[in-house]
């Protein structure tokens, strides 16, 4: 082999290796993209379809609720807080109201608390059904969406029957709950309570919800392709999940059986019997599975609550103009998506001095850059969907 030939070979090898160096492409996913749940923007560096790094850009939906709270009265705020996470409006109303009640030293009567519990669980069912319907859609299966949303509509009808609103009930009042829907001035005494036939309708609907979860099981849960897309994808180990402040089903799917409904509750969760669902895998499949099981647990809770709901007044005595004494408090509750908390500082007077909202989706979203490193673009969709965040909740 001549030296000249060897040199030529070397040159060509160098040429080839230079040619094969590829540049990463910057892929802007969102804010207008079919699967970013609204207006999330992800700036991803992709090598072909493999993601080398991803950076979420948030704030496109910032509505300034924390600042708004400083210029709104407490009564006006209940209408705002259920718009933070619009899929589970009622569940984020409760901690706020409880915070105000605790500062004022008022306790809602028992019946009101039970109604709050039932509605919270109905919203949990509704929120998880949105997930179990839209998650297969993100993986390309269109049919489950329609089957599950049809049953969710029944749940929304229940909520509407009680509160008059489907998404934004604005149903809590300091010291209890608002008069139920459908009552005018003359009927006030009658309509103060649960509408007639509502409890039976709830029982019937819960049956349909159970049927719907069964349908999801047969159509989605065992599906080979669904498993291929989700098992082992986007694995979040328990310690990482804790580190990033994940909560709710996302945390429980990583093997940490932590549910605020068992640890720190303001509603009579201790009087109902339910299990904390958790799964060890921490992958997308487990996050789906945990939510599906939680629907069943919530149905259990609702059915028990219907039987246990006591008679009595719906509202404690509270002043017409709410003046909250000086003080500060942090109240959190188990939102369908996880831990949802309010840090409320009052300097006395009709408005909060400062309201810090610890929103669930914001913390749940924060793990995206870590979990997506090295994933494929289709995995990005699968992981993003499985974390089940609402952009209104992220940006507040």
């Amino acid at each position: 082999m001549s030296d000249e030939y060897r040199a030529m070979m070397h040159r060509s090898e160098v040429a080839v290796s230079v040619e094969l160096q590829t540049q990463d492409m910057t892929l802007n996913i969102g804010p207008q993209h079919p699967s970013t749940h609204g207006v999330l923007r992800l700036v991803a560096q992709v090598d072909g379809e493999r993601i080398t790094s991803v950076e979420p850009v948030i704030g496109y939906m910032h509505r300034g609720y924390e600042k708004l709270a400083e210029v709104r009265s407490y009564a006006q705020m209940t209408a705002l807080v259920n718009r933070i996470d619009w899929v589970s409006g009622f569940a984020s109303e409760v901690p706020f109201i409880v915070a105000v009640e605790k500062l004022m030293g008022i306790e809602a009567p028992e019946r009101a608390q039970w109604i709050r519990l039932i509605l919270t669980e109905l919203f949990r069912i509704s929120s998880h059904m949105v997930f179990t319907s839209s998650y297969p859609l993100e993986l390309g299966a269109t049919t489950p969406l329609f089957h599950v949303l049809r049953e969710r509509e029944r749940v929304l009808e229940l909520i509407e029957g009680m509160t008059g609103g489907r998404f934004h009930p604005n149903f809590n009042r300091v010291g209890g709950i608002k008069p139920a829907a459908g009552g005018g001035k003359t009927q006030k005494k009658v309509s103060m309570d649960i509408p007639e036939g509502w409890l039976d309708a709830t029982r019937a609907t819960m049956e349909r919800v159970m049927l719907s979860t069964h349908q999801s099981d047969t159509l989605v849960t065992g599906n080979e392709l669904f498993k291929a897309r989700t098992v082992g994808v986007g694995v979040i180990p328990g310690d990482k999940a804790v580190e990033y402040g994940l909560s709710g089903p996302n945390l429980r799917a990583s093997g940490v059986a932590y549910d605020l409904r068992k640890h720190e509750y303001h509603l009579p969760y201790d009087q109902v019997d339910f299990d904390v669902i958790s799964a060890p895998g921490g992958d997308c499949y487990d996050r789906y599975w945990v939510r599906l099981q939680e629907i069943r647990e919530s149905v259990k809770i609702v059915l028990q609550a219907i039987d246990k709901i006591p008679d009595g007044p719906l509202r404690a005595k509270a002043p017409r103009v709410l003046k909250v004494p000086k003080g500060q408090i942090y109240v959190r509750g188990e939102n369908p998506k996880g831990e949802f908390g309010y840090y409320l500082i009052s300097e006395g007077g009709q408005k909060p001095y400062r309201l810090k909202i610890r929103s669930t989706s914001f913390s749940n979203l924060s793990i995206l850059p870590w979990v997506l490193k090295g994933a494929l673009v289709p995995d990005l969709v699968a992981v993003m969907g499985s974390l089940d965040f609402v952009l209104g909740d992220v940006d507040r």
Binding site: S35, E49, L139, G140, L145, F146, H147, L225
Partner: protein
């Protein structure tokens, strides 16, 4: 001269037939998927919404066909045409009925019977990848580029599986002409079982799976996976250019279903009886009935399954389908050998 006229008439009829069928097909798909999903689907345009596709087509026709700034103009304009033409051309060799005899002359119910029909079909269906790859690349946008890279990889690998699945068919029937293959399936086993090539079950399964990938349909519709890469290769297309892609996709869907019927389900074969006219019409009815059964399979799968991931798709093609086809070819080869030459020890 007479040949020319016959060919011209056949071409026009085939063209008209194909487009009518596709118009119906889109409507059928939307209705069936809708029923699977507790919806009604299109019901407004015409009786039962049957004219919906036409209405959509008209709307797209009058829409502005936008050309983005950063496209490679000529390729961008050529890509939709390149998608449509091969799709239409495949149909020319598909026999849709038994040959009919009028006044002593025999007319075949296919535009032309190529003696290399199978190769022609494979060649034309591989042409589709050029359209998609070029459309994605020439759009000068990132999502279409990802889509076109996916499509190139996907279609090339499934092309191989598809071709291999057809080898046992060719060996069994001893011809590569589509009319010949259908003729050969007219025989019967034991005097009553139709000798359809579906007995080559592994081939049939591989072909059907490859067919899903080849037509970019769910669960292999990664090329236009909306949730991942927005519209895939046709993200930057609008108006009638988009309509051409759409049309090509559905023509391909129909073609592939028709080819499955021709290769494996006996084409137009079926019990024929009655007067001459009925004997002409029945095979055509059989052909379309079988084809729409396969189309229903397509729609059913679309309504049921989620999408596969790109790497899983490739792995499935190269690690499962192709080895299975190869092994099956060897088995089929032995079977054909025995049938022709007898057992080696006999």
């Amino acid at each position: 001269m007479e040949d020319f006229i016959v060919a011209a008439v056949k071409t026009v009829i085939a063209f008209a037939l194909l487009f009518t069928v596709v118009l119906l097909l889109v409507w059928i798909e939307r209705r069936i998927v809708a029923f699977m999903q507790n919806r009604l689907g299109p019901t407004r345009a015409g009786p039962l919404g049957i004219l919906q596709t036409l209405a959509d087509g008209m709307k797209l026709l009058f829409k502005e066909s936008m050309t983005p700034d950063r496209v490679e103009v000529w390729l961008y304009l050529a890509a939709p045409i390149m998608a449509l033409v091969p799709a239409v051309l495949i149909f020319l060799v598909v026999p849709i009925g038994a040959p009919i005899t009028i006044g002593g002359t025999e007319y075949t119910l296919q535009v032309t019977d190529l003696n290399v029909g199978v190769l022609y079909v494979l060649a034309m269906s591989s042409m589709a990848v050029y359209a998609i790859a070029l459309a994605g690349w020439s759009s000068g946008s990132k999502y279409p580029l990802l889509g076109s890279v996916r499509s190139a990889a996907q279609m090339i690998s499934y092309e191989a599986a598809m071709g291999l699945a057809l080898v046992p068919v060719i060996m069994f029937n001893g011809t590569t002409s589509l009319a010949g293959i259908v003729e050969a399936q007219g025989a019967t086993y034991f005097g009553f079982l139709p000798a359809w090539n579906i007995v080559l079950l592994p081939s049939f399964v591989v072909f059907v799976i490859a067919m899903f990938a080849e037509t970019n349909r769910a669960p292999f519709d990664l090329v236009e996976a909306e949730q991942e890469i927005v519209g895939g290769f046709h993200t930057e297309y609008s108006g009638f250019r988009f309509a051409l892609f759409f049309l090509a996709e559905y023509i391909n869907l129909f073609n592939m279903s028709a080819l499955t019927v021709v290769f494996f389900l006996g084409g137009w074969q079926g019990p024929v009886f009655g007067p001459t006219v009925l004997q002409w019409i029945l095979p055509v009815i059989y052909f379309f009935a079988k084809t729409f059964a396969i189309v229903f399979l397509f729609i059913w799968v679309r309504g049921t399954l989620p999408r596969m991931r790109y790497d899983q798709l490739m792995g499935f093609g190269w690690k499962r389908l192709i080895p299975v086809s190869l092994a099956w070819i060897i088995l089929a080869m032995i079977a054909v050998g025995i049938r022709r030459f007898g057992l080696p020890w006999a």
